[in-house]
């Protein structure tokens, strides 16, 4: 080890030059580059190209930015963007809050901890469409089990998916139920990586359980929190399956998100237009997620 590093520093300049010109390392890079190129770069750039064309899947005519102009004139686009952001914010916030709470519970000394951890994670394994159909049934205004249960305690439940003002929030709650398991697992990993010594030192310093949570758990599980925020925020912005399975954007267009607006155009045969919509969605996610990521990580660096 020592010999290696000393020889590396001693002959630093010539070695780097040789490394640069040698083709040998390129062979290691090639398989990954091919997979990445075929599966990511090619579709991305071709979709950017097709978004500039009138496209029937078999032939395409270049029409410049017309698709984008038309996409932005779409009457329910604004509603879709607002819903997308609401959906992302609500699911992201609730996943962080519940995920952290559950993780604290599931890292404490409770009975059947392993079993409870599996139960919390279980919804992650179920397909979004399956979850969507099940919850659509449960959220039926008169025959759904949720409102029947509420009736029993004398509350008349709302039309979870039929009330236009409520539909997007109902879907968001289901997404939280479905995705909180993953957030919890990430938080559990974050909390378990905090050395027990800090908690013991804090107990000696006189910290109550709540103060230990605020001063130790919360700041020291920050990397996990950043991961959960970024992942669930992006997931929220991209969400499609659950909305489609539960409301198809309805009632009317009340719960349309960007992805469902795009899908409807695709269904209608406007392939170039829907591809343009996807490019817009990609840019929107990048514009929101990248600054958020930089912001969260910069604050981490300061701490």
């Amino acid at each position: 080890m020592m010999a290696m590093s000393s020889s590396a520093t001693a002959s630093n300049a010539p070695l780097t030059k040789r490394q640069r010109t040698s083709p040998y390392p390129t062979w290691f890079f090639l398989p990954a580059a091919i997979i990445y190129g075929v599966l990511f770069l090619f579709p991305t750039f071709s979709s950017i190209y097709f978004s500039l064309t009138r496209w029937t899947l078999f032939d395409s005519t270049f029409i410049g930015l017309d698709n984008f102009a038309q996409f932005f004139r779409e009457p329910f686009l604004i509603q879709g963007v607002i819903n997308t952001i609401i959906f992302a914010l609500v699911t992201c916030t609730l996943k962080v809050v519940f995920g952290l709470g559950l993780a604290v519970l599931l890292t404490s000394d409770i009975r059947m901890r392993a079993l409870l951890r599996s139960i919390v994670f279980f919804p992650v394994l179920v397909s979004a469409v399956g979850v969507g159909i099940a919850f659509t049934a449960m959220m039926h205004p008169t025959r759904g089990i949720i409102n029947i249960a509420l009736d029993l305690v004398g509350i008349s439940g709302p039309g979870w998916l039929t009330n236009p003002a409520l539909a997007i929030y109902s879907v968001a709650l289901v997404e939280v139920w479905r995705g909180v398991g993953l957030a919890t697992v990430i938080f559990i990993a974050g909390i378990m990586s905090i050395p027990q010594d800090y908690y013991e030192a804090a107990r000696i310093d006189g910290a109550s359980a709540w103060e230990r949570f605020c001063y130790i758990t919360l700041p020291l599980s920050r990397p996990a929190t950043v991961t959960v925020i970024i992942l669930s925020f992006i997931h929220g912005l991209r969400n499609f399956e659950l909305v489609w399975a539960m409301t198809r954007g309805g009632p009317g267009f009340a719960s349309d998100v960007l992805a469902s607006v795009i899908y409807k155009q695709y269904q209608a045969g406007f392939y170039g237009l829907s591809t343009a919509g996807n490019v817009v969605l990609f840019v929107l996610i990048a514009l929101m997620a990248i600054p958020l990521y930089i912001y969260l990580n910069r604050r981490e660096g300061h701490q």
Binding site: P195, E200, A201, R203, I204, D205, G206, Y215, L220, Q303
Partner: protein, 368 residues
């Protein structure tokens, strides 16, 4: 400052008993060191005093208060951890002041105490840094600072020097000793390093297998170990130990058999030994003096010259390896014969159970 009393303290994890009934009194302002090999229960005992481990049975008094079920913060203790456990997201200032902040001390008072602790530990220039920007020794200081500001009645140290390099360890040891004099607080210190124990302690508690082997001043433990375990554990290099058989008893004297040690004879005050008893003879390496007519004879295997002293590895007539520590310039060569004399008061004898028989030695025969 307070005294402590441990009364028949037990600790079990399930059916495994790790602390087997410890009775101990620690005086006000005393520096007490718990020492023992890994797994002897010394850290567990300290953590029970701190309140981080439950006491299975027995009573713990700090001052006049029964503390068995008291929260750590109410016990009037502060603890320095082996890992230091400095909060990585807080500055040194906030680390030191964390306990005061939780206790809702006024800001001015907090600031004054933090700066006072920093002054005592000479770390005023470090207050704005984060733990990750500190060296091992500096972290150690901060951890001690965090303990000082709480003005505890009892300081607890859990192997605080074991993460430091050898030179720094010696420095910090001296500083801890000075700090104890300066603060005059009761301190309990856990270590597996008998040199730390010897140098720091007013009183050493030697633990093994969850039981107290001996309690006493360092020099008492060195001069008069209660049993074979303490004899072997305290002192460096280790005491030479060889099995011997009690021979003829004449008057108050007993002859000792054992190949290579045939013609030693001792005087006892108790006459509890009888011919044929299996005993263990113990002589510290430093107690052996080169003397051509000495009774301890052997063949030199290895000579380690350290400058100020020389460690001689030699083999007795029965093949057992012994050590002797003699002057740095002693004219000893490898492979040669060597003989040592030993002062009567430096000879120890342990019975079959490993207990020191506290012999009174009157003479050692001159020949082999």
């Amino acid at each position: 400052m307070a005294d402590l009393a441990l009364k028949s303290i037990h600790k079990s994890y399930g059916s495994v008993e790790v602390i087997k009934g410890i009775d101990l009194d620690i005086g006000h302002g005393e520096f007490v060191v718990f020492v023992g090999p890994s797994g002897c229960g010394k850290s567990t005992l300290l953590r029970m005093i701190a309140g981080l481990e439950e006491i299975t049975s027995g009573e713990l008094y700090i001052g006049e208060k029964l503390c068995n079920n008291m929260e750590p913060r109410d016990r009037g203790i502060a603890m320095v951890f082996q890992s230091y456990a400095l909060y990585p997201h807080m500055s040194v200032y906030d680390n030191v002041g964390f306990g005061l902040k939780l206790a809702k001390a006024p800001k001015e008072e907090r600031d004054r105490k933090i700066r006072e602790a920093a002054r005592i530990l000479q770390m005023e220039h470090l207050l704005e840094r984060r733990p990750s920007q500190l060296s091992g020794g500096q972290r150690q200081r901060v951890a001690i600072g965090r303990a000082i500001v709480r003005e505890p009645e009892v300081f607890l140290f859990d192997e605080p020097l074991s993460n430091l390099d050898a030179a720094l360890r010696v420095d910090m040891r001296m500083e801890l000793s000075k700090l104890h004099q300066q603060l005059g607080a009761t301190m309990i210190y856990v270590t597996h390093d008998q040199v730390e124990a010897m140098t720091l302690a007013d009183k050493i508690v030697v633990l093994n297998n969850g039981e107290v082997q001996q309690t006493g001043a360092p020099i008492d433990l060195y001069k008069n170990p209660a049993n074979l375990f303490v004899a072997g554990f305290i002192g460096s290099p280790k005491m030479n130990l060889s099995p011997v058989i009690a021979g003829e008893v004449s008057g108050s004297r007993i002859a000792l058999g054992g190949e290579g040690l045939e013609q030693l004879s001792y005087a006892f005050d108790g006459h509890r030994q009888k011919p044929g008893d299996r005993l263990t003879l113990g002589i510290r390496p430093h107690a052996l003096k080169i003397s051509e007519t000495g009774p301890v004879k052997g063949k030199v295997d290895l000579v380690e010259r350290l400058g100020n002293e020389t460690i001689i590895n030699f083999r007795l007539g029965n093949g057992e390896q012994w050590l002797a520590v003699v002057d740095g310039d002693a004219p000893i060569g490898r492979g040669g014969a060597v003989a040592f004399s030993v002062a009567e008061s430096d000879i120890m004898l342990f019975d079959e159970n490993g207990e020191n028989v506290r012999c009174l030695v009157s003479a050692v025969d001159g020949e082999i």
